[in-house]
Amino acid sequence: MRLSDYIRENLIVLEPEIESKETAIALLVEKMQKAGVVSDGKKMLHEVLERERLGSTSIGKGIALPHARTQLVDEIVIALMKLQKGVVFNDDDPEPVRLIFLLGTPITAVAEYLKLLSRLSKTLKNDRIRKDLLTADSGAQIRDIFSHAED
């Protein structure tokens, strides 16, 4: 399993104007809908936000991993957003989030999902990779960063 296989250029949003985590997530879901990887964007948004209400998905260092285990996707999909000016995801964690990874996972793919999550957080722990991601200025560049990180 390679992380870069899950990063798709058409699911990357660079530095949009947004004011809250809800609008950020809505934008990512919309992106997924446009790419045709989620069958019902409205439902998906609802499921992700509901999950978010049960417990925050920010993991510190300006990163959040909102997600849903859902029947609306056929395989694991990741949509990615990079922000110039971060948004607050969690009141306990004042550091604004600047990298958001939205994950959609089929109900059946538990093992794959947990493995992917572990891989993702290990990669993002690296300060240099985080810095590279924040300074990247194209989707292709972001993809390259992930594939180099794994080599």
């Binding site: 999950r51 049960l54 417990g55 925050s56 998905t57 920010s58 993991i59 510190g60 991993l65 997600h67 285990r69 109900i107 059946t108 538990v110 093992a111 999902y113 947990l114 999550l117 572990s118 993702l120 957080s121 290990k122 722990k125």
Partner: protein, 598 residues
């Protein structure tokens, strides 16, 4: 090929189930097996006519029902050729078999039995051809062997091939394998019922493949009709109308049964002993072993030609009462030796005909001996020939029913069914330690062909209620339980590996310890955010009334080793857990209760 295609269309058009498909396929196999038997028998006559008759000028007597019409040439017997011919036959047959189809070695029936139990009924399509040619040459040049093994393997091979062409299931291929064997044997011995019964009986020492009875009967009826349309109806042997009306004779028939066991023991030991301790140890290419075997038979045939080939003509003479006790007794042992040399060296031929010969001669010798000792006691001493034929094979080959029926159908001696039943059963029950067919298994339960049948059968009768662990206080996880909650529950419940996950409405999923082991003990930041709902698998449950068969299916489909048990009236109420090992325990208990003594 178009026939096969039509058969397939027929299956599809009427959406036939297994019974229908097997019926029509068996009809078709009956036709091929019947034609195969005609071809095999004709070739056999041609080869033995060319070698034994025209070359050696040896004209053995023939059974009354199978006269070839060949007139003796009047030229004196070239005895030395009897020494050479079987060796020559062995050379050709050895080359054929070991170059093209080594599985066609030996007596054939065992190969069919093995294909049934261990090879999903599969026989390579070249086997029938190689087997026909090699057997025709082995037997036609005087080898001491019979037609049942080859024709069984030929018919079975054709049946197996047809099943493959029709893309039938493994189970159906096994049925057609049996149907093919039944047709071949039923035809060539003119014994339709015996052939069918033999094919389903010979697979087991103490069981029948009852499911195959109808395909075997159908194929046998057709094959028999085709064969006899060409070669004539009637019995292979002609016998006087025996009657059984002196119950005192039963005593001697029982003794004959015991005698059959004793001789059968020697037969089987010697037969496989020659193979394992002599031929297989020789530093000689397998191709050449049948030639050596042939030479050894020739050496016996040089002095005693009656042990060559099937010897049916001499058996007929025994029935006619024209042989002496000492001739018959000697023939018993010489035949055992000759048969062992022929077949154990790798030659092609069956053990049925030699067994008939051995049993018949033994019975004949015993009957005459009793008659000498107590003249007038026996109504007809030569009836013992027939009973010996049936009883000897019944015990040695573990086919008590078909042996009796085949001998009756071959001789018309139905009047002797009662003595045959007694002698056959006596031999069968006292000979449990000998086995002419090595590949036979004891019962269906020992066959790969039926593996799983019994487990499923047992599990279908048990329900979850008999097996699960009721628990009043089931450890469940709320959907939004955090990692530390999960960790706590896991450490408090060591025996549980699958935790039900619930929300207000009820069971929504299952968390399997296997999936989350890494997360539990070595969580990074992303993982420590995970809730129960992020890690659960699809909810699956069983009810107490559900069969263990259905529970087993769920274990296999979902890969859990524990499944929550829910109340039958309220499927959101979890009342216990069914562990995989509970299911196995319940199965074991049931099996042990069923069979108090193993």
């Amino acid at each position: 090929m178009t026939l096969v295609h039509n058969l397939k269309n027929l299956f599809n058009r009427y959406r036939m189930n297994t019974t229908g498909r097997l019926f029509f396929a068996s009809l078709f196999i009956g036709i091929i097996a019947g034609l195969g038997a005609i071809l095999f028998f004709s070739l056999l006559q041609i080869v033995s006519n060319m070698t034994l008759h025209q070359l050696a000028h040896y004209y053995p007597p023939e059974p009354a029902g199978e006269l070839s019409g060949v007139e003796a040439s009047g030229i004196p017997l070239r005895r030395w050729l009897l020494l050479v011919l079987p060796a020559l036959g062995g050379l050709i047959s050895g080359f054929l078999v070991f170059s093209f189809a080594p599985e066609a070695e030996g007596h054939g029936t065992d190969a069919v039995i093995e294909a049934f139990h261990h090879k999903k009924g599969f026989i390579r399509k070249r086997v029938p051809l190689v087997k026909s040619l090699s057997a025709v040459i082995t037997i036609g040049t005087g080898g001491s062997a019979g037609r049942e093994g080859p024709i069984a393997q030929i018919g079975a091979g054709l049946g197996s091939y047809l099943a493959t062409l029709l893309r039938l299931s493994d189970d159906e291929r096994r049925m057609l394998l049996i149907a093919g064997a039944a047709g071949g044997i039923g035809a060539i011995f003119r014994s339709p019922l015996g052939g069918a019964l033999f094919a389903i009986e010979v697979l087991y020492r103490r069981d029948f493949e009852a499911k195959a009875l109808i395909p075997a009967l159908v194929s046998s009826i057709v094959a028999y009709s085709i064969f006899t349309a060409r070669f004539g109806y009637g019995f292979l042997f002609h016998t006087p109308q025996y009657v059984f009306n002196r119950p005192i004779e039963l005593l001697f028939y029982a003794l004959l049964g015991l005698l059959c066991t004793a001789v059968g023991w020697f037969y089987v030991r010697f037969f496989y002993g020659t193979r394992d301790s002599f031929f297989h140890r020789l530093k000689l290419a397998p191709h050449l072993r049948p030639a050596l075997g042939g030479f050894m038979i020739g050496a016996i045939g040089f002095f005693a030609p009656h042990i060559l080939a099937s010897g049916y003509g001499y058996l007929q003479q025994a029935m006619d009462g024209s042989l002496t006790v000492s001739f018959m007794l000697l023939a018993v042992f010489l035949k055992i030796i000759a048969t062992s040399f022929t077949i154990s060296s790798g030659g092609s031929g069956g053990v049925f005909a030699p067994s008939l010969f051995i049993g018949g001669m033994l019975g004949g010798a015993f009957g005459q001996f009793v008659d000498h000792l107590m003249p007038g006691l026996l109504a007809n001493p030569s009836a013992f020939v027939l009973v010996g034929m049936g009883a000897f094979f019944a015990g040695a080959a573990k086919v008590p029913i078909s042996s009796m029926i085949m001998v009756s159908e071959m001789t018309g001696g139905y009047q002797l069914l009662v003595p045959m039943m007694l002698a056959g059963s006596t031999s069968y029950i006292t000979s449990s330690r000998i086995n002419l067919y090595e590949k036979q298994v004891n019962r269906m339960a020992d066959s790969m062909a039926h593996m799983g049948d019994f487990t499923i059968d047992v599990l279908d009768r048990l329900v979850v209620e008999h097996a699960y662990q009721p628990m009043s206080d089931i450890p469940v996880l709320q959907e939004n339980a955090k990692l530390q909650d999960i960790l706590q529950l896991v450490s408090q419940n060591e025996a549980i590996t699958c935790f039900p996950v619930v929300n207000q409405k009820g069971l929504t999923g299952v968390i399997s310890l296997n999936d989350i082991r890494k997360v539990l003990f070595d969580a990074n930041k992303a993982e420590s955010n995970l809730l129960a709902r992020d890690q659960m698998r699809k909810a699956v449950s069983v009810t107490p009334a559900e069969s263990l068969k259905s529970a087993l299916k769920k274990f296999i489909t979902f890969g859990y080793n524990q499944i929550p048990v829910v109340d039958i009236r309220n499927e959101n109420e979890i009342i216990g857990i069914l562990r995989h090992e509970d299911l196995i325990d319940a199965y074991n208990r049931q099996v042990i209760n069923r069979k108090p003594t193993p």
